[in-house]
Symmetry: C2
Subunit: 449 residues, 2 copies
C-alpha cells in the first residue's frame, strides 16, 4: 500500500476508534514507512499518535523524518516526553537535527540532554559535513580490556537496547583507545570463560574522524563491515559509522559526480528542495566559463572567413563535425572519471589509457569518416567536400579521444576532482581545436591558400 493511502486509513481509524486502534496499525509498519505516514498526517493527528507511542518506537520513527519536522514535533510535546524522545534517538540523527536548527532552538533541545551525552555530541558536532566524524554515532558497544567473553555478553544484554548496531563489540583500554574488535557472532560462538583478549582481532580497521567521508565509504566497501569505528588522533574511540549511512554517502557521491559531469556545481540538497535562484547559481558559473572558453571558436571562424566565403559548403558541416568530436570526448571522459572515482584507473596508467583510447578513437574515427562521407554525398555539395569532411571526422574523433583521456587523469593527479572535466568542458575544448583542424584539412586538400 502507498504511504498516502496508509495515512488516510490511519487518520480515519484515529477519528473513529482512537489512538489505540490507529497505533495497532502503525506499529506493524517498518520505521521508514511509519515515518512516511506520520509526515502525511495533520499536525494535530501526528502529535496524538506520537504521544500515544511507546518512546523507543516513537524515537525510531522520528529518526526517518526531516529535521524541520522532527523539531516541529518535539517543540509541541511536553518537555519530559520530548526530552525522553530526543535521548532515545540515535546520536547521529540528533547531531544532524541540532546542526539544522537555529542556534537558539538547538540550545533549547541540547539542555534536555544529560551533560555527559551533551559533551560527546558537542565533539561530534565539530566535524565538518564532509568528514567521517560527521557521520559517527555514539551508540556503539564498548567493552573493557581484561573482561571475559561472559562479561562482554552481559554488557551487551545490558546496553544493547540503546546501541544502534550490536554486530561488533569494541574493546578499549583504560585511556579509551581502541585496541580490539570482536563480532557478536564471535562472542556467541566463543567459550564464555575465555578472556576477551582471545576473541576477535587486534589490528582494528578504523577511520580518523577528520578523514573525508569517502574514505569511510572506501574502507567499508573494501572490507565488507556493517560498521566502522571512528577514532581521534590518539586512536581514542569516538563513535561508529553504520553501513546505512555509508550507503547514503555512496548515493550522494554518485549524485555529485553525475551533476559535475553534466557541467554543474553539485546541489547540496535534493532537487525539489533546491530553490530556483540556487539552481541558477550552481549552473551559471560553469556556463559562463564554458562560454568564455568557447568564445575563441568565433575567432577561429573569423580567421578562416576567406576560406568560408570561397567554399560556403564548408559551413554546413561545422555543427556535425564538432558535435561528433564533443560526443566522443564525452563518452571517454565519463568512463574515465568513473573509473578514477572507483579506483580502477590512476595517473600511473596514463600510457595504457592513452594507447587504448587512441586505438578506440581510430576505430570510431574510421566509422565516423564513412558516415561523414555519405552525409556529404547525400547533401549534394559537390564531390570535393566529401573527402575533406571524412578526413576531418577521423582526425577530430582521435583528437577528442586523446584530450578526454589525458585531462581527467592529469586533474586527478593534481588532486582536482576529475569530474569537473565534464562532457560540456570537453565539448567546448574540442569545438575550437576541431574547427582549426577542419579548416586546415580543407585548405590542404582543396589546395587553397
Amino acid at each position: 500500500m502507498q504511504a498516502a493511502e496508509q495515512a488516510r486509513d490511519i487518520a480515519t481509524i484515529l477519528q473513529g476508534e482512537g489512538e489505540r486502534a490507529a497505533l495497532q496499525r502503525l506499529v506493524r509498519l517498518q520505521p521508514f514507512d511509519r515515518a512516511e505516514v506520520l509526515a502525511r498526517l495533520e499536525p494535530a493527528e501526528r502529535l496524538r499518535l506520537v504521544r500515544a507511542m511507546p518512546t523507543p518506537l516513537a524515537a525510531e520513527t522520528l529518526e526517518y523524518l526531516e529535521p524541520e519536522l522532527q523539531y516541529r514535533i518535539l517543540d509541541h510535546l511536553d518537555e519530559p516526553l520530548a526530552a525522553a524522545l530526543l535521548q532515545a534517538m540515535s546520536s547521529d540523527t540528533v547531531v544532524d537535527l541540532l546542526l539544522a536548527l537555529h542556534p537558539l532552538q538547538a540550545a533549547r533541545l541540547k539542555a534536555w540532554l544529560p551533560p555527559a551525552y551533551r559533551e560527546r555530541i558537542d565533539t561530534l558536532m565539530t566535524f565538518p559535513e564532509d568528514t567521517a566524524g560527521s557521520l559517527a554515532t555514539i551508540e556503539y558497544i564498548a567493552a573493557r580490556e581484561g573482561w571475559t567473553v561472559q562479561q562482554a555478553l552481559d554488557h551487551v544484554r545490558k546496553v544493547g537496547h540503546d546501541a544502534e548496531v550490536v554486530s561488533y563489540v569494541y574493546v578499549v583500554d583504560a585511556r579509551g583507545r581502541l585496541v580490539r574488535v570482536a563480532s557478536l557472532r564471535e562472542l556467541i560462538l566463543a567459550d564464555p570463560r575465555a578472556p576477551l583478549a582471545d576473541v576477535g582481532r587486534a589490528d582494528v580497521i578504523a577511520v580518523r574522524a577528520t578523514a573525508a567521508r569517502e574514505e569511510a565509504a572506501r574502507l567499508l566497501t573494501r572490507y565488507d563491515f556493517v560498521a566502522l569505528p571512528v577514532v581521534d588522533d590518539q586512536n581514542r574511540l569516538l563513535g561508529i559509522i553504520t553501513v546505512d549511512d555509508i550507503i547514503d554517502v555512496i548515493h550522494r557521491e554518485a549524485t555529485e559526480d553525475i551533476q559535475r559531469l553534466g557541467g554543474s556545481v553539485p546541489l547540496a540538497e535534493s532537487y525539489f528542495k533546491t530553490p530556483v535562484p540556487v539552481l541558477f547559481r550552481k549552473r551559471v558559473g560553469w556556463l559562463l566559463t564554458l562560454f568564455v572558453a568557447g568564445a575563441y571558436t568565433s575567432t577561429v571562424l573569423r580567421h578562416f572567413e576567406d576560406l568560408l566565403s570561397r567554399v560556403v559548403g564548408l559551413t554546413f558541416f561545422i555543427p556535425l563535425l564538432i558535435g561528433t568530436g564533443g560526443n566522443t570526448g564525452s563518452q571517454t571522459v565519463s568512463t574515465l572519471v568513473r573509473a578514477l572515482a572507483v579506483g580502477e584507473v590512476a595517473f600511473r596508467d596514463l600510457g595504457r589509457v592513452l594507447a587504448r583510447e587512441v586505438a578506440t578513437g581510430a576505430l570510431l574515427g574510421a566509422a565516423m569518416a564513412v558516415a561523414a562521407y555519405i552525409r556529404a554525398l547525400t547533401l549534394g555539395v559537390g564531390p570535393q567536400l566529401g573527402p575533406v569532411v571524412a578526413v576531418t571526422a577521423l582526425f577530430i574523433v582521435v583528437w577528442a579521444s586523446m584530450v578526454a583521456a589525458i585531462l581527467p587523469l592529469l586533474l586527478h593527479r593534481l588532486r582536482v576532482d576529475p569530474a569537473v572535466v565534464s562532457g560540456p568542458f570537453i565539448s567546448t575544448l574540442v569545438d575550437g581545436t576541431g574547427l582549426f583542424l577542419y579548416f586546415t584539412v580543407a585548405r590542404v586538400m582543396l589546395h587553397l591558400p
Copy 2:
C-alpha cells in the same frame, strides 16, 4: 603498507623461514588484504600458503579473488582440500565462480559439492545477472516455527560458523515459507524461554528472486537492513542478499548511469578488463545515431545558405550559441536523470519540473545574453549582430532547458532508462533546433527576407 610491499615481504619470509612464519604474518591481515597479497605472489608460493592455511581462513581469502584465480588455485590443489575449500566458500561466490567457468570446468567443481548444496546452487544459478536472485547466498540462519528463543540461539551457535550474516534469524514454516524475522539482538535480549513467535516481526520485508537487483538495493537502502531475504513466488525462502553485495550493486548502477549519461552503452567489465574492440562497440552505436540525428544541422544550414552568404558574421557565432544550448541541456539532464534514479522526481512532477527549469533557464539565458552581446562587440562584427546573438542566446538556453526537463521524465514514464538522454543526446537535439531559432531571429531582427 601497500599490498605489493606486503607481498614482497611475505615471499621473503616464505623463502627464508617457511610457511608457518609467512602464515603468521598473513593471518593478521583482513581477508581483502590477504587476497591482494595472494594475487601478487608467484603461483607456487600462492599454493604453498593456501595449503598451509586453515580451511575457513583460506576460503574467506579466496572469496576476494577473481574467478579465474580462484579456479587456478582450486585446480592445482589435491581434490579433498579443493572440495573442502569450495564448500567453505559462501554460495554467492561459488555461483559467480561456476558461471564464469567453462561448463566442463564448472561441472568438475560442482561434482565436489554435496547433492543438497548442489541443488540449491543450481536454483540460484538460474537467475539472470541483473536479478535479485543472482545476488543471493544460502548461508543464512533459518529457524522453525514453534521453537523457543533458547532453541533458536542454540541453533545459531551450531550453524553460525557457516552463516555469512548472523544478524538475523529467519523463521520458516513446515513448507519453507518465510513467516517471521528476528534480529540476533532481539534474540539475545529476549527471555530464552519465550516462544520464537513472540520475538521479531511477522511482516517480513523480502525481495522476489526474479525482481531487478535495483529493487533489492532500493529496499535495503530504504529500510537500513544489513541483509535482505530472497523468496520465490510462493514466498519460500531461497537465500539472503547481504549489504556488501548491495553496496557493489549501488556502485555498479552509478557507473552504468554515468557511462550512459556520457553517451555510451555501459561496460560489463571494469575499464582495463574491457578490450578495445568492445570499447568501440559500446560507443559506436550511439555515436552513429547521434551523427544521423545531428545530420539535419547541415540541412538547416543549407536552407539558410542565402542568409549566411549575405551576413557572413552570423557563421562566427554558430558553435558558441549551439554549444551554450548543449551545455545548458546537459546540466539539466544530468540533474534530472539522477533525481529520477534516486526517486526524488517522477513523471507526475512534470509541471513543477518544467516551471522550475524554465525559470532557471530564463535567468541563465539572461546572463548568457549579456555575455553573447559582449562577445559580439569584442569581435567587432558591426553593431547589428550584437542584439541578434544576445536574443538568440536567451531563446536557446530557455529552449534547451525545456527539452532537457521534459525528455528524461517522459522516457522514465515510458519505462526507458532516462540515462539514455545523455548530454550528447540533448546537445544534438538542441544543435539543429537552435540553429533554426538563430536564423529565424536573425531574419526578423535584421529585416531580411
